[in-house]
């Protein structure tokens, strides 16, 4: 058994609305091992992003969230995050966005610039170091957001539909990059996605969440040989078998959602 990185014990979250209290998450228990890539999938409104924000320390919740066995106290540099809406700092250039984390850790200017230059090369944005976010396309912004998280050198990656706003082609390219980064770094990843194919392609474990109140209703282990090409993986019988099972599980939950 690998070492436990993140542990959620009876995590519940209720939102106050004007008239009533809505239960968004209902006693979530989840244990993520070091180096695991967990995908959270489920019908929209099931609270999967809320769960990610709780692990990030951005939202308070009932129950316990442990990272490396210790309860979390708000956000921390051990947990890096990428949001669907990029959340870049608009007043900072690409270089300064990426260098923000290292600079906060007290790294020297020279080292910050070296690290930023290396990451800019990694994400294929050479020549864009001094551009502002508004001058970049959606795909480029998302790559900068990922590079900014990597520069923070976190132990855990929290990804909230990081590729949700991208077109199909850019999305596949970014999935390949994410997969490569995960395989090379052996970091722990929790990713929220509504794309079942993406979840099966990237994750080592998939948790299917129920309609509100969110609970984890099914888990799938994904053991694919990631050394193969995307075509080989996606056309294999085992890939499609898991994809079908996960899709069916999500579909069942979506049908249980009240009609809006």
């Amino acid at each position: 058994m690998m070492q436990e990185k993140i542990s959620l014990k009876d995590v519940s979250k209720a939102y106050d609305t004007r008239s009533t209290e809505v239960l968004a998450l209902d006693r979530i228990n989840l244990s993520v091992a070091d180096g695991e890539f967990v995908a959270l999938v489920g019908p929209s409104g099931c609270g999967k992003s809320t769960l990610l924000y709780i692990v990030g320390g951005f939202l308070d919740a009932e129950g316990e969230v442990l990272v490396n066995g210790a309860p979390i106290d708000g956000p921390g540099v051990d947990r890096g995050v990428v949001f669907q809406e990029y959340a870049l700092f608009p007043w900072m250039t690409v270089r300064k966005n990426i260098a923000y984390g290292p600079r906060q850790r007290g790294m020297t200017d020279a080292d910050c610039n070296n690290l930023a230059a290396r990451l800019i090369k990694l994400i294929g944005l050479d020549g864009f170091a001094d551009r502002y976010p508004r001058e970049l396309s959606g795909g480029m912004k998302q790559r900068v957001a990922i590079a900014r998280m990597l520069a923070g050198d976190p132990e855990v990656f929290l990804l909230d539909e990081p590729l949700g706003a991208l077109d199909a082609q850019t999305r596949e390219i970014m999935q390949d990059e994410l997969l490569r980064i995960w395989l090379n770094n052996k970091k722990t990843v929790i990713m929220v996605t509504h794309d079942v194919v993406e979840a099966v392609f990237l994750a080592s474990r998939i948790c299917v969440m129920s309609a509100r109140p969110g609970r984890i209703v099914k888990e799938f282990r994904v053991q694919l040989d990631r050394g193969r090409s995307r075509e080989e993986i996606m056309l294999s019988d085992e890939f499609n078998r898991i994809r079908n099972d996960v899709w069916l599980a999500v579909r069942e939950q979506a049908l249980l959602m009240p009609k809006q």
Partner: protein, 265 residues
């Protein structure tokens, strides 16, 4: 044609576009005055105003009074904007503070601050303090409102990103909330700066021993309308220059912002 040359032409074109309507108005005004359609005792001609302006510009009177007014307008504006930003941030950051201050802001926002000049005279007398205080109160509210808006409109995900990259709560204020609010704060300062001249001069007209407001009022009382218009023109020139300087500063500070995507404001 090179880009640089085209830019120069664009700029010159803009200056011509901006000045042309004013030039036509002044020319028509002069024409009607010259043919005697306007009684110069009621409305002086542009030529007469020009002569008066030249006369004023060579003497100490306008310079000294203009300096007094500038001191009051800029002093009050600087204090008002600084406090406005601080109060706006405090309101955005503390619900308790917001609950106390927000009703006060709403209640006094649309009050013309010149209306309380008599009260200010009663409290602090006639002079710099009264005028600066009136300008201060005028500049306070637009910056409070704009700062509050800019800070509260900061998306959570940007704040959360900074926190997860190691920013403390205090650093979030300096690194995230203030830069995000900067475009709004500068809008507030621009409004405040415009008001600052109006209020400084109005306060001087109501009661003062120095300043352009008093000068304009005095010329008007004496029937020296050419000199009155010349004094008004000098204020317009200074206020226009101050506004342009602020716009230039804003575009420097906000080169990252979407509002700067080409063109000029």
């Amino acid at each position: 044609m090179t880009t640089a040359r085209r830019n120069v032409r664009d700029r010159l074109g803009w200056v011509v576009d901006g000045i042309l309507p004013i030039a036509i108005l002044v020319a028509a005004w002069q024409l009607f005055a010259s043919i005697g359609a306007i009684n110069e005792a009621m409305l002086p001609s542009p030529y007469g105003i020009g002569l008066a302006l030249f006369d004023l510009a060579t003497g100490p009177e306008i310079r000294e009074n203009l300096l007094v007014t500038l001191y009051r307008a800029f002093g009050g504006a600087a204090l008002g904007c600084a406090c406005g930003v601080a109060v706006g941030i405090a309101m955005a950051r503390s619900e308790a503070f917001d609950a106390v201050v927000s009703p006060l802001v709403s209640a006094t926002y649309s009050l013309p601050k010149t209306a309380i000049v008599p009260l200010l005279i009663l409290w602090v007398g006639i002079g710099h303090t009264m005028a600066v205080l009136a300008v201060f109160l005028t500049c306070l509210l637009p910056t409070v409102v704009q700062t509050y808006h800019g800070v509260t409109a900061t998306p959570n995900v940007i704040v959360w990103s900074a926190r997860s990259l190691g920013a403390s709560r205090r650093e979030v204020l300096w690194h995230i909330l203030l830069p995000h609010a900067l475009p709004d704060i500068l809008t507030g300062i621009r409004v405040a700066l415009g008001f600052s001249f109006v209020v400084a001069i109005s306060a001087e007209m109501i009661a003062s021993t120095a300043g352009v407001g008093r000068l304009i009022f005095m010329y008007g009382e004496n029937g020296s309308y050419a000199y009155m218009f010349a004094a008004i023109t000098s204020v317009v020139i200074v206020a226009f220059a101050a506004d342009r300087l602020l716009l230039l500063l804003s575009s420097r500070l906000l080169s990252w912002h979407v509002s700067q995507r080409g063109g000029h404001s």
